[in-house]
């Protein structure tokens, strides 16, 4: 995957988001060992200190844990992963509702549009 960064946010916080997304979407599996900081930095095309900072932040959030010599691992705590996944979902929903609100749709209309969309999907399969 290609790493593209927004210009209005710190790079490390964008790395945190990207890796979290990788964990909740299963690209990094629970308990999986993460590559070394240097390899992850090279993969993302960022400075190793920046990647290090992102991983420390993920440790504080409980998304990854470090084992002194063996490296860093993705958490096996499914509650933490589910919780983070829910946060991502809520964020998506908020920005969707926000965009629809700007188009002038009210909640009920949005819900009926979603229901229609769902029927169409069923119809297509």
């Amino acid at each position: 995957m290609e790493w593209i960064f927004r210009s209005d946010l710190p790079i490390y916080s964008q790395l945190v988001e990207r890796i979290k997304l990788g964990i909740v979407s299963g690209s990094f599996r629970p308990g999986e060992r993460l590559p070394s900081v240097r390899d992850m930095a090279a993969e993302a095309g960022v400075n190793p200190n920046t990647m290090q900072r992102a991983l420390q932040e993920l440790e504080r959030d409980g998304m990854v844990y470090a084992q002194r010599t063996a490296g860093r691992f993705v958490t096996e705590d499914m509650r933490v992963i589910e919780h983070t996944k829910k946060q991502f979902a809520e964020e998506q929903i908020r920005s969707f509702l926000d965009a629809m609100g700007k188009l002038g749709y009210r909640r009920e209309e949005i819900l009926s549009l979603l229901a229609e969309e769902k029927e169409e999907e069923h119809g297509n399969t």
Binding site: F5, G45, V46, P48
Partner: protein
């Protein structure tokens, strides 16, 4: 100890004050962007660090020593202009670097030459401008130095090579060494930098980390630079 330190460093060329009481410290483990418009003093600063110029005032120290024979073994410098002998073949340059620098890693240089499709039987004068620049950079990056001073390392190369060079800088990362990249192609290097130094008319106008600028100003270093140096 700082790898590079300047104390009230000044350099004057006749009526031109190229550097004006510059004080800064560069610590190990950092990748630093030396950023400024044309003629701001970037190249002068790097030349002073290599002993190619002598200060008019103040001092510049590499690991606590004034630039000289001893510091040259710790500093790997990429000048802003071509400096390799035109008649030499790549293989001869490899011999040359091996003779001169105890920290030169020939295998590493060979690997990079191969990656960038540079034939070791080629002479410098037969190369395109971009290939010359790549060859120079490969030689400089193949040393295991304490301080890399790279003056416009990506200016003349294509975007794919640029990516490869930046990748090389990341993979080369050594917590005990520091890398200084002087450039005005900020958007391209921003992601690999820890800190930036903005220099203008011989004076330091800003020292900050990349993420601090993004956090405080909500814009990239590139965008911030354009604001600070708006013409």
């Amino acid at each position: 100890m700082a790898i590079l330190e300047c104390r009230d460093l000044s350099k004057r060329f006749g009526a031109v004050q190229a550097l004006d009481t510059v004080s800064l410290k560069i610590e190990p483990g950092r990748v630093i962007g030396l950023l400024g418009p044309n003629g701001s003093g970037k190249t002068t600063l790097l030349k002073l660090a290599n002993g190619l110029l002598t200060p008019t005032g103040g001092e510049i120290l590499i690991e606590g020593m004034a630039p000289g024979n001893e510091t040259k073994s710790a500093v790997s410098y990429l000048p802003d202009k071509p400096y390799l002998a035109e008649w030499m073949k790549v293989r001869q340059l490899l011999d040359f670097f091996q003779d001169f620098y105890a920290d030169f890693d020939r295998d590493k240089a060979m690997e990079m030459l191969l990656r960038l499709n540079i034939d070791e039987n080629m002479r410098i004068k037969e190369m395109s401008k971009g290939t010359r620049e790549k060859t120079q950079l490969i030689l400089v990056m193949s040393r295991k130095a304490m301080l890399y001073l790279l003056d416009e390392p990506i200016g003349g190369v294509d975007p794919a090579t640029r990516d490869y060079i930046l990748d090389t800088i990341i993979r080369n990362y050594n917590p005990e060494a520091a890398v200084v990249i002087s450039t005005h192609l900020i958007a391209d290097v921003e992601q690999v930098l820890d800190d930036v130094i903005f220099i203008n008319q011989g004076k330091i106008v800003l020292e900050s980390s990349v993420d601090q600028i993004r956090e405080e100003h909500g814009m990239s270093v590139d965008q911030y630079f354009r604001e600070v140096f708006r013409c």
